[in-house]
């Protein structure tokens, strides 16, 4: 693990959009959120493994997402950001045509 922790990332089944995991205190299950800033950051490998397991179970039971996996995140200029550029582009959207596409709607449109 590099950076400050790990986050579970996945593609939402219904529309393919990139989502992140956060444990829901109310239900004991996971919620899927669209913004990296709203994701739960696992600060240990143990917690990361638990989050991933919950995510995969949710994907199997509720058909919520596909391809859930863990990424490393860091803090950069006060903003949460994946350590790898591929994942950064994945989280923040295409770096071109910021007037179109999901990237135009995302409040944290890519800077990278």
């Amino acid at each position: 693990m590099e950076g400050i922790g790990q986050v579970v990332i996945a593609s939402r089944l219904s529309d393919g959009l990139v989502v992140f995991v956060r444990e829901s205190a109310a239900t004991g299950r996971v919620d899927w959120v669209l913004q990296l800033a709203d994701a739960e950051i696992a600060d240990s490998d143990e917690r990361a493994a638990v989050l991933l397991e919950m995510a995969l179970r949710d994907a199997g039971e509720r058909q919520s997402v596909v391809d859930a996996y863990l990424i490393d995140v860091k803090e950069e200029s006060g903003r949460l950001c994946p350590t790898k550029y591929r994942e950064a582009i994945r989280c923040f959207g295409p770096t071109i045509r910021t007037d179109l596409g999901e990237q135009a709607e995302s409040s944290s449109a890519a800077e990278k």
């Binding site: 529309d15 393919g16 058909q63 550029y85 582009i89 295409p94 071109i96 045509r97 999901e102 135009a104």
Partner: protein, 551 residues
């Protein structure tokens, strides 16, 4: 153009209904992702970096205005207002929802379109010369044969699970605008000894991680034998093609490992068994398909147009557009008009729904309701009266579609790269947009002349970097985007594979390096040599010296 008969309509409608049920079963959990994935891919639906991506087939790159308007409508209604034209003359949507995809396919079926066989290890959309039926130097319209291949290859049971994907391209001219030498099968229409038109057959070309130029396996094939010969090639490949290693499964590797001579012998042997079977094309059937591609009723016009010349004389921007974006037409007084989808600073090949709507209108008003997609990711109005070119140009200019750069440095072929693609290692679009900004000056562009830059964001080479005069390949080097440069490639009739110049460059160096390569060329070129000609004459040395001396 070809219009569906009752069988085509039924097939496409059934497929939409089938996919709708498959999507329902996936969403309900009845199908797992593992089970569903091959089913969605068979319908052109990928899952990419940010969302699903739907690849719509545009058979041999031919559209009418009704179809283009439908593509515009789908972009607006189901996507985010734009689409991306690809190097195989198809269109990709970057943001479709899984749950709405059956509706999109149903909309497409209304205008005789679909996404069948735009993915998977099957025979893909057959591509062709974008100037088919219009080019002055054409022997015969290749789309007739593309359509015959389409009908034969659609849901062909024997070829639905090939070792790997399979791409065919057909051209009707000696000037190769369809990159036939880098396809699994390339067909060139030509006259045989008796003057009769048939096909030269090239097999085993391809790009990707192991690029090969195709091998010439037959000088001339009669038209009536086209399908039996294709079937013999596919059968030989299906038997010999490797299924143990995805990276060695394309026919280019089969031909390479078997040897072109032995591969040819096996094909001919198989062909002798089946050439007089039901695959022999009856004349009536060839005529029936050919009738769909009958030339429009061109008016009898003077070759030259006073309107065009008068405007060009007083408007240098229009003159540039005429010079670079229009091409000689077979009918006097007509021109082929290219619409560049490579404006300065924007992604190559993208068109907004509004632009597509406008082009559909223009096709109706100016070009016998005919639009073409090029493998170079531009659009074409194939039959425009020269006297109306000024009006067409003005209308295109209102929508940012009058960039005068077709065939020039900023007319870049570029894959979606890491901005969209899950397989990419580096971004390619930002390199293309930066290059178009650096070389935005029309005078300099025109001075440099014909130049093909092709950019891929990974080794799969969707951006055709191996066959760029300058090819750029994005790689991931220790967690940073890095770019290798190749020189000397061509996908045209003088096809060749580029050679790596040397060590790669960081993203912020690439544009400067291209600038230096161009400077070397301008210093060394003789007469009206193109970049590629100078490179072939002088070799890598002078280019290498300049680039690495200062880097």
């Amino acid at each position: 153009m070809y219009h569906y008969d009752e069988y085509d309509h039924a097939l496409v409608k059934d497929r939409v209904a089938q996919f709708r049920r498959q999507v329902d079963r996936r969403i309900s959990g009845e199908l797992t992702e593992e089970q569903f994935r091959p089913l969605r891919l068979m319908n052109g639906l990928y899952l990419q970096l940010h969302a699903y991506m739907l690849r719509v087939a545009i058979p041999y790159g031919t559209l009418d205005s009704r179809q283009l308007r439908k593509l515009a409508y789908i972009g607006r209604r189901y996507d985010k207002g734009y689409g991306h034209f690809t190097t195989r003359q198809n269109l990709q949507y970057n943001w479709p929802k899984l749950e709405e995809t059956p509706d999109i396919l149903s909309e497409l079926a209304e205008v005789e379109m679909h996404a069948i066989q735009t993915s998977g290890n099957c025979i893909r959309n057959t591509t062709s010369d974008q100037y088919a039926g219009a080019a002055a130097d054409e022997i015969e319209d290749p789309r007739i044969w593309c359509e015959i291949v389409r009908q034969w290859s659609t849901l062909h049971p024997e070829f639905s699970f090939l070792p790997r994907k399979f791409k065919i391209a057909i051209t009707g001219c000696e000037d190769d605008r369809a990159a036939v030498r880098v396809h699994d099968i390339g067909l060139i229409m030509k006259r045989g000894e008796g003057g009769e038109v048939g096909f030269e057959v090239i097999v085993g070309g391809g790009l990707g991680r192991t690029p090969f130029l195709g091998k010439h396996i037959r000088s001339w094939l009669p038209k009536e034998d086209l399908l039996s010969y294709l079937e013999a090639i596919l059968r030989t490949y299906n038997m010999l093609g490797r299924r143990d290693n995805k990276y060695k499964a394309r026919i280019k590797v089969t031909v390479h490992e078997t040897g072109a001579e032995e591969f040819t012998r096996l094909v001919e042997e198989e062909w002798n068994e089946i050439k007089d079977s039901a695959l022999k094309l009856p004349k009536e059937e060839m005529d029936r398909i050919a009738a769909h591609f009958k030339a429009p009723s061109f008016r009898v016009l003077d070759a030259e147009s006073a309107e065009q010349e008068e405007r060009a004389a007083r408007d240098p921007a229009f003159a540039s557009w005429i010079r670079h974006n229009t091409v000689a037409h077979k009918a006097p007084g007509y021109a082929i008009a290219n619409i560049s989808l490579k404006p300065v600073g924007l992604p190559p090949g993208d068109a907004t729904s509004d632009q597509m709507d406008l082009i559909a209108d223009l096709a109706e008003e100016f070009s016998f309701d005919d639009v073409r997609v090029t493998h170079g990711q531009n659009l074409v109005l194939p039959h425009v009266e020269r006297s109306r070119l000024p009006e067409l140009y003005d209308r295109l200019a209102t929508a940012g579609l009058s960039t005068a750069n077709v065939g020039l440095l900023s007319d870049i072929i570029c894959c979606p790269g890491l901005d969209y693609c899950a397989l990419a290692n580096a971004r390619s679009i930002p390199i293309a947009t930066q290059l178009s900004e650096r070389f935005a000056d029309q005078g300099r562009l025109s001075l440099i002349g014909e130049m093909q830059i092709k950019i891929s964001g990974c080794i799969n080479a969707c951006g055709h970097h191996h066959v760029g005069h300058i090819g750029i390949l994005g790689v991931d080097r220790k967690g940073e985007e890095h770019y290798q440069i190749q020189l000397g490639g061509s996908a045209a009739e003088d096809a060749s594979l580029g050679k790596i110049l040397g060590r790669g460059f960081s993203a912020d160096q690439v544009v400067d390096v291209v600038d230096q390569l161009v400077d070397v060329y301008l210093e060394l070129r003789e007469d009206d040599e193109r970049f590629i000609d100078t490179f072939r004459r002088v070799g890598q040395g002078p280019f290498k010296e300049r680039v690495y001396a200062t880097a």
